[in-house]
C-alpha cells in the first residue's frame, strides 16, 4: 500500500548519482532541472504519503505505525542492524517539512546560483542531503538513523565548503564537521550502550510503552543486564544520545559551528542550517521520547535547562550581530532551543503522563519545528535575495531597501511577525503552545521563555528595520542600485509565506475557538487526537509582550539616525562587545582545545604514536631490510653454484631425516 515510499529515498539518490557522475558534462540548466524534477516527484510522493497516512482510520484512537520495508542488513547474534522505512506521525510530518523546504530551495537556487562555477555539483550535493535527511526521518531503528545522521553531516560539510577557494568557507566546513562529529561520538557510544543492554536498536518497543502497555524488552538478555539497563544504563544512553543531538541541533556549548556555517551559499543555510538538518536533534529526542518518558524522566530536566540557557544565550547574541545571516543563525539556535525545551517540559508529574494536557510540550515542539522550518526558510531565502541585491551580508550597507525590493520586504515582514509570535501567523500558535507547556512545568521556565520570546521579537525587528528602513547607504547604492530578485527566487518566498499565513490563520482561529483538525490532531505524544486550545491568559500576555518589544525595536531602530541605540552602545560598550563576540565562546573553545587538549592530551598521544607505534613498525621493516641485504650476495647468478648448494642442502636434509 505504501510501497511507493521507497522512491522517496531512491529518487534523490538517483539524481545525486547522475549529477555526481555526469554533472560536469551537462549544461547548468539540465543539471538543475534533473535535481528539481526528482525533488518535485519526491514532494508529490511525500504529500501523497501524508494524505494516505493521515486519511487512514485510526486504530484505538491512534495512527498505526507502518513499516513498508524492512530487511536485516547485518545480523549479529541477537542484535541486528536493519534498513527500512517507518511511517508514523512525526516521520510523515518531517517528510512534508523536508520535501517542501527542499523543493523551494531547489527552485530558488536556479536564481541564486545562476552562473556559479560548480552549479551541477551544488545540485548533486543538495540531492545527497535530501536523500540522507529523508533516510534519517524514515529510519526504522536507531542505527539506521545514525548512518543517515552521519551522511547528513557529510553533505552539510560539503555544502558549507562549497566555495572551497575561499579560506573562511574551508575553515567553517571543517569546524562544522569536527564539532558535530565530536558530538556524534557520544551518540554512537549511547547507541552501542543501548544496543548492548537491550539487545535491540529498534524504536518499536518504545512505541509500545507510550501506549501504556510497558512491555519489557529484556526477554533475551540476561537478568543482570536487564537490571542494569532498567536502573541507570538507559538514562545514560539517552543522555549520550542527547549530546549527539545537541551537537547537530547547535545547543550550547556545541553551537559554535552553526554561525560559521553561514559561509555556505544562502539557500543551503535556509535548507540545512535553518529548516531541516539542525532540527535533527529535536527529531531524535522526539523519536526516543517514549524511552525518555519511561526510563529517564528525571534526565529530561537536562534537556530543559540546556534548552533554556541556549535559547537565552543565542537571543542575547543575536541582538548585537551586524551580519544578517549571523542574526538569523543565532535566532535559529534560539528557536531550536525552544523546541528542545518544549520536548523536555513534557512531563508535569508522571502520573498525569497520558493525560491529554500533559503531552502538550511534545505536540508544541513538533508544531514549532514545522512552523519554524517554513518561516525561517523564508527569512533565509529573503536574506539571500537581499545579499544577491546588495552583495554584502553587513547590515551597515543596507537600509531603505523596501523601495527596491517590495516582494522580499513583504515576505520578510510576514516571517518576522511569525517568528515574533503575533496572532494569525504560524509562529504564534506553536510558540504559545510551548510557553503554555513551560508554564505547566514550572512558572519559572514559563516566564523565562516568555522573556526570550520578547527578545526574539526585538532582535528580529531590529534586523528588519536595519535592512528595510533606516538610512539608505547612498554611497554603496550609487554604482549598484539594488533590484528585486528574479521570479525563481521570489516564488519560493511567496509559497513559504502563504504556508506561514495559512497555517497561522487556521491554527489561531482554531485554537481560540477550539476547532480540531489542526496540528495536534496529527502529532501527539500518545498518538490520540489532541485539540489545540489556547490558554487565553498566556496567549494575551505573550502577544502583548511581543507587540511591546516590536514597538521598542521600532522606536529604537526605525528612524534615520539611531540616537538611543548609540547611547546604549556608549553606556555598555563592554556588554555590547561581549555580545558581538558571542560572549567569547569561540575563544574559550579555542583555548580549551589548543592550549589544554592539544598540549596536554594530543601531544603525548602524538609522541607515543610517532615513537612507539611507528617505531615498532619501522624497526620491523629495518630488520627485514637488513636480513635481505646480508643474504643478497648469495645470489651470484652462477647456475652451477646454485646446483651445488641445492645438492648439498638435499644431502644434508636426507642425512638429518635418516638420523631422526
Amino acid at each position: 500500500m505504501y510501497s511507493y515510499t521507497i522512491f522517496i529515498m531512491l529518487l534523490p539518490l538517483l539524481s545525486f548519482i547522475i549529477l555526481g557522475l555526469a554533472g560536469m558534462k551537462m549544461q547548468h540548466k539540465v543539471a538543475g532541472w534533473i535535481g528539481t524534477c526528482s525533488l518535485g516527484l519526491v514532494t508529490i510522493l511525500s504529500y501523497l504519503t501524508a494524505f494516505q497516512y493521515f486519511g487512514a482510520d485510526r486504530v484505538n484512537g491512534i495512527y498505526q505505525t507502518i513499516v513498508p520495508y524492512n530487511f536485516t542488513w547485518l545480523p549479529l547474534g541477537n542484535l541486528h542492524f536493519d534498513l527500512g522505512i517507518l511511517l508514523d506521525p512525526i516521520s510523515v510530518v518531517m517528510l512534508i517539512v523536508i520535501s517542501t523546504v527542499s523543493l523551494m530551495v531547489h527552485i530558488y537556487s536556479f536564481g541564486y546560483m545562476h552562473g556559479e562555477k560548480g552549479f551541477q555539483r551544488y545540485y548533486a550535493f543538495l540531492s545527497l542531503f535530501t536523500m540522507s535527511m529523508l533516510g534519517l526521518v524514515l529510519a526504522t531503528n536507531i542505527f539506521q538513523m545514525y548512518m543517515f545522521w552521519e551522511l547528513v553531516g557529510v553533505s552539510s560539510y560539503l555544502l558549507i565548503g562549497f566555495y572551497y577557494p575561499l579560506k573562511p568557507a574551508i575553515a567553517a566546513s571543517k569546524k562544522a564537521f569536527i564539532v558535530t562529529r565530536f558530538a556524534d561520538m557520544f551518540f554512537l557510544v549511547g547507541i552501542l550502550t543501548f544496543g548492548y543492554f537491550t539487545d535491540s536498536f529498534s524504536f518499536s518497543f518504545a512505541g509500545d510503552i507510550v501506549m501504556g502497555q510497558g512491555t519489557t524488552p529484556f526477554i533475551q538478555g540476561s537478568m543482570a543486564k536487564a537490571v542494569a539497563a532498567g536502573g541507570f544504563i538507559i538514562p545514560t544512553a539517552l543522555v549520550l544520545m542527547f549530546i549527539g543531538g545537541a551537537g547537530k541541533s547547535a545547543m550550547f556549548p556545541l553551537h559554535i559551528w552553526l554561525p560559521d556555517a553561514m559561509e555556505g551559499p544562502t539557500p543551503v543555510s535556509a535548507l540545512i542550517h535553518a529548516a531541516t538538518m539542525v532540527v535533527a536533534g529535536v527529531f531524535q529526542i522526539a523519536r526516543m521520547f517514549p524511552l525518555w518518558i519511561e526510563y529517564a524522566p528525571q534526565a529530561m530536566s537536562i534537556v530543559v535547562w540546556v534548552g533554556v540557557f541556549t535559547a537565552f544565550y543565542a537571543a542575547a547574541v543575536a541582538c548585537a550581530q551586524t551580519d544578517i545571516k549571523r542574526v538569523l543563525a543565532f535566532s535559529t539556535i534560539s528557536q531550536i532551543a525552544f523546541m528542545m525545551v518544549a520536548l523536555g517540559v513534557c512531563l508535569p508529574g508522571h502520573e498525569a503522563l497520558f493525560d491529554n494536557h500533559a503531552q502538550l510540550g511534545y505536540m508544541a515542539g513538533m508544531f514549532h519545528l514545522f512552523t519554524h522550518a517554513m518561516f525561517k526558510a523564508c527569512l533565509f531565502l529573503g536574506a539571500g535575495c537581499i545579499i544577491h541585491a546588495v552583495h554584502s551580508n553587513e547590515m551597515a550597507l543596507m537600509g531603505g531597501l523596501r523601495k527596491y525590493m517590495p516582494i522580499t520586504h513583504v515576505t520578510f515582514l510576514i516571517s518576522c511577525l511569525a517568528i515574533a509570535g503575533i496572532p494569525f501567523f504560524s509562529g504564534f500558535s506553536s510558540k504559545d503552545e510551548i510557553i503554555t507547556a513551560c508554564m505547566q512545568y514550572s512558572p519559572v521556565v514559563g516566564w523565562i521563555m516568555t522573556g526570550i520570546a520578547a527578545m526574539t521579537a526585538f532582535y528580529m525587528f531590529r534586523l528588519y528595520y536595519g535592512i528595510f528602513w533606516g538610512t539608505e547607504n547612498v554611497e554603496a547604492h550609487e554604482h549598484h542600485t539594488p533590484h528585486e530578485a528574479p521570479l525563481s527566487m521570489t516564488i519560493p518566498l511567496i509559497v513559504l509565506c502563504v504556508i506561514t499565513v495559512g497555517v497561522g490563520i487556521y491554527s489561531t482561529l482554531g485554537g481560540f475557538l477550539g476547532w480540531g483538525g489542526s496540528f495536534g490532531s496529527y502529532v501527539a505524544a500518545a498518538g490520540t487526537d489532541y485539540t489545540i486550545h489556547f490558554d487565553t491568559q498566556i496567549a494575551a500576555t505573550s502577544t502583548i509582550i511581543a507587540i511591546l518589544s516590536i514597538c521598542l525595536a521600532t522606536y529604537i531602530y526605525k528612524g534615520e539616525s539611531q540616537p538611543i541605540a548609540d547611547r546604549l552602545y556608549k553606556t555598555f560598550p563592554k556588554l555590547h562587545r561581549a555580545a558581538y563576540k558571542r560572549f567569547y565562546q569561540d575563544e574559550i573553545w579555542q583555548y580549551v582545545t589548543h592550549r589544554i587538549i592539544f598540549r596536554c592530551v594530543s601531544t603525548p598521544i602524538a609522541w607515543f604514536d610517532r615513537h612507539i607505534v611507528d617505531g615498532t613498525f619501522n624497526f620491523m621493516a629495518w630488520g627485514a631490510n637488513e636480513a635481505g641485504e646480508s643474504i643478497r650476495s648469495w645470489q651470484s647468478g652462477d647456475v652451477r653454484q646454485y646446483a651445488v648448494w641445492f645438492l648439498t642442502g638435499s644431502v644434508a636434509l636426507t642425512l638429518i631425516l635418516l638420523c631422526i
Binding site: Q635, S636, G637, V639, R640, A643, V644, L647
Partner: protein
C-alpha cells in the same frame, strides 16, 4: 633373471653422472643432457621398484611414462630457451648469462 641390485646400481650411477655433469659442465646443452640422465635414473628406479614390490600393479610404470612425457616437454622448452640465449649472447655457456639475475 637380473638381480634387482643391478638396476639400483645402474640407477645410482646414472644419477650421480647426471649430477656431476650438471655441476661441472658449462655448456647449456650438456647441462640439459645431464638433467635428462638424472630423470632417467629415477625412471629406472620407478620401474624396478614397482616390479619388486607390487608386481601386480602398474603405477610405477605409468609414472615412468609420465616422467618421460614431462622430460620431453621440458627439453623442448629448455632448448627453446637455449636458442634464445644463444641468439642474444652469442654463446651457449652458463657463465655468459650470469647477469640474468637482475
Amino acid at each position: 633373471m637380473i638381480p634387482v641390485e643391478c638396476y639400483f646400481a645402474l640407477s645410482a650411477l646414472l644419477f650421480f653422472i647426471g649430477v656431476y655433469g650438471f655441476v661441472t659442465r658449462r655448456n647449456l646443452i650438456a647441462m640439459l643432457i645431464s638433467v635428462e640422465l638424472v630423470l632417467n635414473a629415477v625412471d629406472i628406479n620407478f620401474a624396478a621398484i614397482n616390479r619388486l614390490l607390487y608386481p601386480e600393479g602398474m603405477e610405477g610404470m605409468f609414472m615412468t611414462l609420465f616422467v618421460i612425457g614431462v622430460a620431453a616437454a621440458e627439453s623442448a622448452v629448455a632448448i627453446a630457451i637455449i636458442i634464445n640465449v644463444y641468439r642474444k649472447f652469442r654463446s651457449d655457456s652458463v657463465d655468459a648469462i650470469q647477469n640474468m639475475k637482475r
